[in-house]
Amino acid sequence: MSEWQPRILAILCNWCSYAGADLAGVSRMQYPPSIRVVRIPCSGRVDPLFIMKSLQSGFDGVLVSGCHPGDCHYISGNYVARRKFAVLKPLLEFIGLEPNRVQFSWISAGEGDRFAKVVTKITEDIRELGPATRLVKKT
Amino acid sequence: MGNYCVPQQMKVERIGIEDPARTLRTYDLSFVNDSDRDAFKYLPGQFCELSIPGKGESPFGIASSPTEEGFLRFTVNRTGSVTNEIHYLRNGDTIGLRGPLGNWYPVEDLKGMNVLIVGGGFAFTTLRSLLIYLMDSRDDHKDITVIYGARNPDLFIYKDEIALWKQRSDIQMHLTIDKPVDGWDKKTGFVPAVVKEVAPSPENTMAIVCGPPVMIKYTLPVLTQLGFSDERIYTSLERRMKCGIGKCGRCNIGSKYICIDGPVFSMAELKNIPETV
């Protein structure tokens, strides 16, 4: 049987991180095939519900990525998002979820290498944690 | 003991599109199991719960008549998650069905009488069932008058059949739309006003009304005014429903459950029920 591969949901903003992922692709950079990408208009659109729902439906981890502070296509979307994540992350840790399951990053359209690095890092982190169990709904 | 919570399987045989916006579609369903077909006995006015696994169930009036064999017809307006999903169905797909549920129009009492059918919008479904049923035993009934209103000409359902009915000399068809539109040569105005204008004499006449709550609300008093007695006016009500078998409590109004004591009520019954329309 092949080795267990983490399944990670990557929620990427349309203007920076998605383009960054694209660049990583066209530049043929290597990173683990662990992510499934959802493109959204802005990291400010990310409702914590999306993250919880992903974990519940069995993703081993969630990565949310947007434009660097100051670069938001909608001026301040990522600042608002940052406040949400700043509260969400400690709360998830507080209730006992492993801290590294949910991660946030800023990746610009030109940072294909950074995208590859971030994906590699989060995949390693989650591989260390093993498959998610805590919030996963059994059907 | 039957389990009335579990749907039987139906197959989509034909899909008709009723309006240019394609939000109203008519589905003819056939039974997957012969035993289900043989056990399914219904009369005009009853309804079924159509069921889509993963989405839920919604009640729909049966638009076909028991005299039309081989299929059940439903017209579905796309509004919520279940109806949305039904609109994705194609010919040959299966769908769950529970029924027939509820009571029916007083078809026995209509024998030997004049019948006035008043309908509005896409609530004409069970009235179509009734009309076909009456016409299939045309000699048992005297004059049949139909008053059917819609917001605009596009929103009439069963347009082809209406065209046929209009040609018949044994049915009086009156169509009306809310506001005048170019090219519309029939009546304009709300249903209650048209009822006042063209309704037949209450003498030996039974009135059957089905439509949106606001139409029912204003039509019933007009009929009373015209001299129809409370026992001669029937209407069909609707509420949000879940179980359809008088348990879940959602469609409770007064001491009645619309799903088992209705949906058809006489005006005399309605007078004792609060919050009807």
Binding site: - | N3, Y4, P53, E57, W104, P274
Partner: protein, 352 residues
Amino acid sequence: MNMVRLDKKKFGDFILELSVEHAVYAPGNTGGKTDFIPVSSEDEINLKTLVTDLSPKGIFFPHSEVLYEYDTEGIRVPEKEAGKPIAVWGMRGCDSRSLLMLNKVFGSAIQMPDNKNFQDPYWKEKYDSSVIFGSACNMPQSTCFCNWFGDGPHSREGMDVFVVDAGDHYLMEPVSDKGSNILGKLTCLTDSLEGDAEAALKLASEAESTMVPPMDVNGLGELLNDLYDEPVWEDISAKCINCGACTFSCPTCHCYDIQDEGKGSSGKRIRIWDSCMFPIFTMEASGHNPRALSSQRVRQRVMHKYSYFLEKYGDFLCTGCGRCITVCPVNLDIREVLKTINVYNRQGITNG
């Protein structure tokens, strides 16, 4: 069969013996709250609790119950586990009576126009084979008002065996055939002694004497119907915040919702307790809500309990257990509501 005795020292044996052929439910603790829970030994039972925080309806009508499962193959009703019939220990008169009311809805359904009889198989499967060991209530609380409905703390309605706690022993008396059957089978019981019956009666009259005199509920149904359109409902409902805690703790509230839960093409259709206090209860897909106002919803709950159900099934849909009074966060006391209705009516008459 006559009254029998169970020494409290043998209570543990009794539960074990009962468990052989039954799935036993009794009042127990769940995280600081009391509820009827499945038990297998004496230790799990909380005999001190007066009225359990949650009602016993959940034994027969669980919060969420799978109606059937579906997948690409079709639909399956979950196989009934080769389960034992249910036996319930320690159900007060108010609670056992609530089962009779629920059975009117789920079990012995009224006849439909085409002679269909919609019985609920999920309810019947559990309820019909169950044995209810009722518990005489020796210590009614200030929130108890079972006496309003012609009942008392030592009511036996809905029980199969009537049980009185008489100090160091229980006195048991069969109420139904099922009850006599099971008492005949249990070996840890002994014959009652002289004076036991009198002792039970004495406890009953003592318990009754501690209850607050009831309000007269004769004609309450008609009265409510008459007051349907009165503005008094706005005053009554003003403080209600439609939280729904009352309906969830009520032993007779039985409205439910049906929801599908699944992933992809397989899943389950589940029925789940619902509450008429929530605006979405009657919200239609078109956006029209016939019961959009809080006052309409409060009125619906009161009318359903004290008028509509009476008219349809010949009984109030309330046993006076008082749970809704205890649990209400704004102290909207149902007794006060009914009293307000009564007083309002009298004022209405005097005002002409």
